[in-house]
């Protein structure tokens, strides 16, 4: 059965249809949330919040305005993630981050336990550095340079203009570039 048909049934209050929608999309929503938090607990919370919001407002889902139910869900998930990040960011002090001290050789493929540790630390620094971006900038950057979404799709997903997305990206790239500059200056 297609998603559209299942959505129609869910709108009528069919419990099985809700369950089917959950089973079809839970993985995608969970992975999207996990990407931003790297924590099962946070990702689960966001996933649950996303489905609760979506199911409570399923009557407002517009088949003509949204490209698909899946895209609609992801946009709810991303907005929930932005809110969650904002709440969390208020409690976290922002540090000045530079990647200059990271090792020049980060091992790849069949690494030893020491190599795994080096790589873990490098990844942690990269994730920390991403925190210099605002939650919204982080999400926009991720959508563009990790998921490779079009500017237009990002704007649609976040409910803002394309020029706003471009401005956010520009500022994000500038901030991130500054974390790399010390490394680039090293002889």
């Amino acid at each position: 059965m297609s998603d559209d048909m299942t959505v129609v049934l869910a709108r009528e209050g069919n419990r099985d249809a809700f369950r089917r929608l959950y089973e079809s999309h839970r993985e995608q929503v969970y992975r999207t949330a996990y990407r931003y938090f790297q924590s099962v607990q946070d990702a689960e919370d966001i996933m649950q919040e996303t489905f609760i919001k979506a199911f409570s407002r399923i009557r407002t889902f517009d088949f003509r305005a949204s490209s698909s139910f899946s895209a609609w869900l992801v946009s709810i998930c991303i907005n929930a993630a932005i809110d969650h990040l904002r709440r969390r960011e208020r409690r976290v002090e922002k540090k000045r981050i530079s990647l200059s001290h990271l090792p020049q050789e980060v091992p790849a493929g069949n690494p030893s336990p020491e190599d795994v540790e080096v790589r873990r630390q490098a990844l942690e620094r990269i994730r920390d550095a991403l925190r210099i971006l605002s939650p919204r900038q982080r999400v926009v950057f991720d959508m563009r340079y990790d998921r490779h979404m079009d500017i237009k799709d990002i704007a649609g997903c976040l409910g803002c203009s394309e020029s706003n997305v471009k401005a956010q990206l520009f500022r994000s790239l500038e901030k991130l570039r500054r974390t790399l500059e010390p490394r680039w200056r090293q002889s």
């Binding site: 996990y34 990702a43 409570s56 790239l173 090293q186």
Partner: protein, 258 residues
């Protein structure tokens, strides 16, 4: 690709991931630009590190536990029956606003109705008596001219029906209720008058007769209904909807004259 674009791709590659095409473009550019080749070499260990670390392999959560919470919060709390306005979870403030708006519309209608009635059918009671007595000589000039447009009748009756169908749980003030009752009684008189006229024309208006009969029943019920009699109101509501009274009234008003 210029150096500015190459720099953007390097930053994107460290903090995000590059597509194979982007990686190829970057390599092409570095072949021709020693400065960018230097930047790429210094960033190379970090490029695509997130992708290589397999961040997609998120630990699997407890799907069933999540479903229990989702279904409890989103489904079990869903309203079983939708209200007149399509939602039944509206706050009292919304209902009060809607009741006030409905009351304002009704008041405008009532004032317009009585003003118009004074101008046009000032002697409707006399007309009823005249029709009842089988005499046309005492019917008001408005009726005598034979130009009773059903559209006018429908214009007056439509808001009465809409107001009844959209009645909320909030009771309007007593003064307004009294006005409503007067309007309903007047519409009942007009309906009976129209029935008499169509009957006098030899039963040539089959559909109109049926509609007027339904309307007479509805208006009689409305006129005699106690304010707290919710069951009768719901029953009448169903009847109006099931018999598509508003729609039939509009259609007939648009295409018929007596």
């Amino acid at each position: 690709m210029n150096c500015r674009e190459a720099e953007i791709l390097i930053v994107a590659g460290v903090y995000g991931r590059l597509t194979p095409e982007e990686r190829a473009e970057l390599e092409n550019h570095s072949g021709a630009c020693p400065t960018c080749a230097g930047l790429i070499a210094k960033s190379a260990p970090l490029l695509d590190l997130r992708a290589r670390a397999g961040e997609e392999d998120a630990p699997v959560p407890d799907w069933e536990k999540s479903w229990s919470r989702i279904s409890a919060e989103a489904l079990d709390k869903r309203p079983r029956r939708m209200g007149v306005f399509g939602r039944s979870d509206l706050g009292w403030a919304v209902w009060v606003r809607r009741a006030t708006a409905a009351a304002a519309v009704l008041l405008v209608f009532v004032l317009g109705y009585f003003a118009g009635r004074r101008l046009l059918i000032d002697r409707s009671d006399e007309a009823v008596e005249a029709v009842a007595a089988g005499s046309s000589s005492r019917i008001s000039p408005f009726l005598e001219s034979g130009q009773i447009m059903l559209a006018e009748y429908a214009d007056n009756l439509g808001p009465v029906l809409v107001n009844f169908l959209n009645r909320g749980d909030v009771r309007p003030p007593e003064g307004l209720r009294e006005l409503e009752r007067r309007v309903v009684r007047d519409m009942l008189v007009q309906t009976r008058l129209l029935r008499s006229l169509t009957a006098a024309s030899g039963g040539a208006h089959g559909r109109l007769d049926d509609l007027l009969l339904d309307l007479e029943f509805i208006l009689t019920s409305m006129a005699n209904m106690a304010p707290e009699d919710k069951e009768s109101a719901d029953h009448l509501d169903r009847m109006i909807r099931e018999k598509s009274v508003s729609l039939r009234l509009r259609d007939l008003a648009a295409f018929s004259t007596i």
